[in-house]
């Protein structure tokens, strides 16, 4: 299954399942990371990690290892 860290820069996708500890995924959900929401990979940091995403009008960066547990629907 494809995860969001595998998106290309500028590529959009629809969010699917998240395999993260419940507290962590709860925080992301509150910030708009819900299944079915559109997500776009904005850019990677100059050193490759973290990765900046746009979801529901919010820009935020998470680390590659965490992004690899968030899958596209």
């Amino acid at each position: 299954m494809k995860h969001i860290a595998q998106l290309d820069v500028g590529e959009s996708a629809i969010l699917g399942e998240m395999k993260l500890p419940s507290e962590a995924s709860a925080r992301l959900e509150e910030m708009g990371f819900l299944p079915g929401a559109a997500i776009r990979l904005v850019r990677r940091a100059p050193l490759g990690c973290p990765i900046e995403f746009e979801v529901a009008g919010t820009r935020l960066a998470i680390r590659g290892v965490d992004a690899a547990n968030i899958f596209v629907g």
Partner: protein
């Protein structure tokens, strides 16, 4: 006074709550900690249009009322009226970002479910317009039954309308049916609330933030900009702040002289001039550096650049278990650990914050420079400037390794209590608000002087007493110091410090510089010259004292300040925790003496071991 209404500002981090708070209260605000936690409590007063005074409380930024950080827990508890130290607010002012209402209403709808009278502030309407988002405030007002005020708090646009709303006697409770169910259900309810009230132009556009980011986090230009900013910062701290520091130094010297002339010679005069004026001067002298650092940090935070620095640096910090937000605090500590430790307030995770505070004093702060310079000159009497610079460079490398090593250790040692992942929010760039930056610097300066100042004053008086009593009959300062409690302490610890290559005179220097490391230089001056010559006859004094120290012999005829001893002393000064201001600030920022004392013990203990190893191991290579 009790009839004053309490308005609480609630919103996500970076929404502009503090800007609005400052706009409302101006200088009529006070900052303290919520008892028992290290969360900042900002409270102030303002007047409404009828001249009635009311109180404003700037609650810590939160994404949700299901608290996941200490900040959010305070916000949740205050809004529920569960904190004994803070009454439940009479009115809640909910700030939401007009360009991103869905997410901001996540918190706002939770707050509205508390059933308190509410005002909604639709902030950043200018940015929303740039993004092609238009919000019909009237429609939201009708649906919620509470005032919805469009604003640009940073430009003070909409203040008038907010004042009207705040002045209303009968503020309504929102008409909002509590959401049952999970996160998705709440987002659905928010969608319904916003449908028809928010219009979005579908056209894709490059926002100003996108354009800035193309340069500021560019793989090449991003680093160029960051390094240039840091170079400017360090130039300002080490070079420009020299002027005000000189004035402060001269001011306190003048004050001391004034007292000296007007008072009779004796212990009391000495207490005032050396203990009190000297002690306070020793703290205040750091203010220019501290304020300058805070200016840079506030500026970076205010514009949104700080988040980009964290974004770029996260990779380098994650290896030892820190996140990108630790970078600026650690870096600031290279000038002075005090603002560095205070800057850890931008870190949400208490664990990351604690680790950063614990390692911050290992950075080679500017107070170590005079000691380094003195010892390097003694160590390499015939050395070239390049050789000396090389040693200095080595000391900085050693301190960087120390920071990484101990961060790594603490990361393994401290239990992971949080399962939250690192999320860096990247806010849109803003023009800096000088007013807000000014208020923040003022606030930080006050905190430093008040908190650190009181502890230091007490301890510098203690230190003065240690070097003054018991009295000897001799006129010579050298004999007096040897006779004093500090001198005896130096002799008493001689067996302990002998394996490091030190004699009792260096022991006195170590004891005296426990409060502030740069005191080592002036103490050495008293020990070897009988008086402090680091002031007036500075150049001449430096030369003489170095000659005396270089000529100093051990019992066996070897020079006291041998290469090995100097190396060992340098290593000791890299690691030892010899700064009472830092102890005081760590105590305040961790809200516990336990961590402050732990920091002193682990750093000084490690300094001892490292200096011991340096002296003993170097014995195999150097005679």
């Amino acid at each position: 006074m009790d009839s004053e209404r309490l308005f609480a500002l609630v919103g996500n981090p970076n929404i502009g709550k503090t800007t609005l708070f400052n706009a409302l209260t101006g200088l009529r605000q006070k900052v303290a900690n919520y008892p028992g936690v290290t969360v900042e409590k900002k409270e102030g007063t303002a007047r409404d249009r009828h001249g009635n005074q009311f109180k404003v409380l700037d609650l810590p930024g939160a994404y949700s009322l299901e608290a996941k950080s200490p900040d959010e827990e305070v916000t949740r508890a205050v809004l529920h009226g569960e904190r004994a130290d803070t009454p439940q607010p009479d009115v809640v002012v909910c700030l939401v970002d007009a360009s991103n209402l869905e997410r901001h209403f996540y918190l706002a709808t939770q707050v509205m479910e508390l059933g308190l009278p509410t005002i909604v502030v639709l902030n950043k309407t200018d940015e929303a317009k740039k993004l092609g988002v238009t919000v019909t405030a009237k429609k939201l007002e009708e649906r919620l039954g509470v005032p919805v005020v469009p604003m640009q708090a940073n430009e003070r646009v909409g203040m008038e309308a907010l004042q009207v709303a705040l002045s209303s006697k009968e503020l309504a409770k929102p008409q909002w049916r509590p959401v049952e169910g999970n996160v998705a259900a709440r987002y659905e309810a928010i969608d319904q609330l916003l449908s028809g009230a928010v219009a979005r132009s579908e056209q894709e556009r490059l926002t100003p933030t996108d354009k800035w980011d193309q340069v500021l986090v560019h793989p090449v230009w991003g680093w160029v900009v960051l390094l240039s900013i840091l170079a400017g910062l360090f130039y300002a701290i080490f070079s420009l702040s020299g002027y005000p520091m000189g004035w402060i130094d001269a001011g306190f010297a003048w004050l001391g002289k004034c007292v000296e002339v007007r008072m009779q010679e004796g212990d009391f005069r000495s207490l005032i001039t050396e203990g009190i004026i000297g002690g306070v001067g020793g703290v205040v002298i750091f203010l220019p550096q501290i304020l300058m650092l805070f200016f840079f940090i506030s500026l970076m935070e205010n514009t949104g650049y700080l988040a980009r620095v964290s974004f770029m640096m996260d990779r380098l910090m994650s290896g030892v278990g820190l996140n990108g937000k630790a970078f600026i605090p650690v870096l600031s500590s290279y000038a002075c650990a005090i603002p560095g430790i205070m800057a850890t307030r931008t870190m949400e995770s208490p664990r990351d914050r604690l680790i950063t505070i614990l390692v911050a004093p290992i950075t080679s702060c500017s107070a170590r420079l005079p000691v380094y310079l003195m010892l390097i000159a003694l160590m390499l009497p015939l050395g070239t400037a390049t050789q000396k610079a090389f040693v200095m460079w080595g000391l900085y490398i050693l301190s960087i390794l120390g920071v990484y090593f101990f961060a790594w250790i603490f990361n393994r040692m401290l239990k992971k209590t949080e399962t939250t992942l690192t999320i860096l929010e990247l806010p849109t760039y803003q023009r800096p608000s000088w007013r807000e930056i000014g208020l923040q610097i003022l606030d930080r300066g006050k905190v430093f002087v008040r908190r650190a100042g009181t502890v230091i004053l007490g301890l510098s008086i203690l230190l003065w007493a240690l070097t003054t009593y018991p009295k000897s009959d001799s006129e010579d300062g050298r004999d007096q110091l040897a006779h004093s409690a500090a001198g005896r302490l130096g002799k008493a610890i001689e067996p302990v410090i002998e394996p490091l290559g030190y004699d009792w005179k260096m022991g006195v220097g170590l004891v005296a510089s426990f409060a502030a490391r740069e005191v080592f230089v002036s103490t050495m001056s008293i020990i070897y010259l009988g008086e402090d010559k680091t002031g007036d006859e500075e150049e001449e004094g430096k030369g003489t004292i170095r000659k005396r120290m270089a000529a100093e012999k051990r019992a066996d005829g070897q020079p006291a300040y041998s290469l090995r001893t100097c190396l060992s002393l340098l290593v000791f000064y890299v690691f030892a925790m010899q700064c009472l201001s830092t102890v005081a600030v760590t105590r305040r920022e961790t809200n516990s003496w336990r961590w402050a004392i732990f920091q002193v013990v682990y750093l000084t203990g490690f300094a001892y071991l490292a200096a011991f190893a340096t002296y003993q191991i170097s014995g195999f290579f150097i005679a």
